[in-house]
């Protein structure tokens, strides 16, 4: 009985363990090992959105779902486009977004939340024609997943 209680206590401690933010860059929080933790638009003044890397896009019934992401403080708009005109927004879903314990969460209804996993923040060292850095990051949740390019231009 005591053992079960100790295991539960340890499990609870691990569950609420908060990874500290050691660095901010382009709206992303990073831990001390430079792994991206979450995106916070309150810390962002340069990234205008995220576009799914063209090479990885999946077309379903002529539609690219999640082709572009746009964060605000409490909302994440996931845009869809027709494959024949991927620049033009065709439709979107608006997810709720929150940050708790340095983890970003998304929800469709504000009741059931799931973490938005962020990984592989990759500064390629290359620049586009406007001189903006080309940076990729991976997002993963049940609504969308993929390798996204940070958009700095207009």
């Amino acid at each position: 009985m005591v053992l079960i209680g100790m295991v539960s206590f340890i499990a609870m401690c691990q569950q609420v363990k908060k990874i500290e933010v050691s660095e901010w860059k382009n709206g992303f929080a990073f831990d001390k090992d430079k792994n991206p933790l979450f995106f916070d638009d309150e810390h962002n003044e340069s990234v205008n959105g995220f576009s799914w890397d063209e090479k990885d896009r999946i077309v379903t019934n002529g539609i690219i779902n999640g082709v572009h992401l746009f964060f605000t403080k409490n909302e994440l708009e996931v845009e869809n486009s027709k494959a024949k005109n991927p620049t033009l927004m065709d439709s979107s879903i608006k997810l709720r977004y929150k940050i708790e314990n340095n983890i970003g969460y998304v929800s469709k209804d504000g009741k059931k939340w799931e973490p938005l996993k962020v990984s592989n923040y990759n500064e390629t060292g290359k620049k586009d024609h406007e001189g903006y850095p080309i940076i990729y990051v991976n997002f993963d949740c049940s609504f969308f997943r993929g390798k996204y390019q940070l958009v700095f231009g207009f």
Partner: protein, 461 residues
């Protein structure tokens, strides 16, 4: 049957003189014959008497028939007069006119019920229909038009006062009794005219008229002219220029969208005819292939091309934000020809300069005013001037090059204004947003909006 009835009536009841019945013919002859001169003479006299009687009878009979016909006619006229007098009968012309009047009365009543004041073009169309109908059936409808025009005037006056009150409320909340006339310095003529005699109205002189940004412009004199222009009242300039169309600006070509000029709807509010027109322009242009990122094999974006085209389709004079080369190019190749020289940064630079000249037709306004005037029917530009240099461009070319700025068209929005997201826009760019996207400045301009670097310019005419 009529003949027999008449004969019976004539012979028995009316007892007309000189007519004998078959039963008493002899006694009737006795009174008419002359003194007898003999047998044949008597016969001859009897025959003459008989013939005379027949003639008299025929004459009397014709007169009787005439009398009866006249009686019938008089009766019919009396009946008609009675039926008409009792409003049971009416002439075809009268009936048509009456029913047309009834229709117009119903139309008038429905029009008054439906009248909202902000749908001016719809009201005008209904009035035109009523006038045409009235003219067709000879019904006077001038009173209906006068009535509706009066309602429209009343509405406009109230609306204007509401707007003035709203502005007054917005800026009069902070009280600074040290300068009671300060409101005249910041609010403009409408407000001043209304409140010039009210000594108890104050505004906070420390509260800027334009609350969002542009600190660097506060001492440029850009706003001075604002005090001397009453946009809403200048009806000769902004109203009823339905036929301006495209030709007014350039005289070059007639475009499919120019049936009504953009600025005709200055007082229309969210009049749906106007909204639908602007939305259609935005949707058509933003969906054009040549404003799609990557359409030419590069990663260039085409906000300037799309914005210029939207204004072109709306018939707006925008020469003041085009490079001279494009002004010349368009004068030759048509107003809707694609830009050759003017980038988004150029547009914002030129707009900034033009806004300092009151005669330019361009005015710097706040973000909230941008939405307000877009809803009123004004074309409004949202623009960001990018002062960041393209990395390594100097090293490679020996000259500087700024990164691309951004421009978009502010479009009408029927929701309440949200200062966090800014006005509603249509744009091309990294992402193209038509009306369906329901995008706002915060989305199209991203970080530049957060840094309060987006400027808004109103095209006055």
């Amino acid at each position: 049957m009529v003949w027999f009835d008449i004969r019976e009536l004539v012979m028995k009841d009316m007892k007309l003189p000189g007519i004998k019945s078959p039963e008493d013919g002899k006694s009737a002859n006795t009174g008419n014959k002359k003194q007898s001169d003999g047998f044949f003479s008597d016969i001859w006299n009897d025959m003459k008497g008989f013939a005379g009687n027949v003639g008299n009878f025929g004459k009397t009979l014709v007169d009787g028939v005439k009398d009866i016909a006249k009686g019938v006619k008089d009766f019919a006229e009396s009946l008609t007069n009675y039926m008409v007098g009792s409003k049971i009968w009416e002439t075809g012309a009268e009936r048509t006119k009456r029913e047309a009047t009834d229709v117009l009365a119903k139309a008038r009543a429905q029009m008054l019920i439906d009248f909202t004041g902000d749908k001016r073009s719809e009201t005008n169309q209904k009035l035109a229909n009523i006038k045409a109908f009235g003219a067709k059936y000879g019904v006077d409808v001038d009173f209906i038009e006068a009535e509706v025009r009066q309602m429209q005037d009343d509405y406009d006056e109230k609306q204007k006062n509401r707007e003035i009150d709203a502005r007054a409320e917005q800026f009069a909340t902070g009280i600074d009794s040290s300068n009671p006339l300060a409101y005249q310095q910041v609010l403009g003529r409408e407000f001043a005219e209304k409140y010039q005699d009210q000594d108890n109205v104050y505004v906070d002189t420390t509260k800027p008229l334009f609350t969002d940004h542009h600190d660097y412009l506060q001492n440029t004199g850009v706003f001075d002219d604002w005090l001397n222009v009453n946009l809403d009242n200048d009806s000769t300039q902004y109203l009823d220029h339905v036929d301006y169309g495209f030709e007014y600006n350039y005289g070059v070509e007639k475009h499919k969208y120019d049936s009504q000029r953009y600025l005709d709807h200055i007082d229309a509010g969210l009049d749906y005819d106007y909204v639908n027109k602007i939305y259609k322009i935005a949707d058509d242009v933003v969906g054009d292939n040549d404003v799609k990122r990557g359409h030419d094999g590069t990663q260039n974006t085409w906000c300037n091309r799309a914005f210029d085209r939207m204004l072109s389709y709306a018939g707006v004079n925008r020469n003041m934000i085009l490079m001279d080369g494009d002004v010349r190019y368009k004068s030759i190749h048509g107003d809707s020809s694609v830009l050759q020289y003017t980038r988004a940064n150029d547009m914002v630079d030129l707009a900034h300069l033009a806004a300092q000249d009151p005669s330019s037709g361009l005015r710097l306004i706040s973000a909230e005013q941008a939405q307000y005037y877009a809803n009123k029917g004004f074309p409004v530009m949202a623009g960001y001037r990018n002062y960041n240099l393209v990395d390594d461009y100097q090293n490679k070319t020996g000259s500087d090059r700024y990164r691309s700025g951004h421009v978009a068209l502010v479009i009408p929005d029927n929701g309440s204004y949200d200062p966090n997201r800014g006005p509603r826009i249509a744009q091309a760019g990294w992402r193209n947003y038509n009306t369906k996207a329901n995008a706002y400045v915060n989305k199209g301009f991203g970080g530049s909006w957060k840094k309060k670097k987006v400027e808004f310019y109103l095209f006055e005419r």
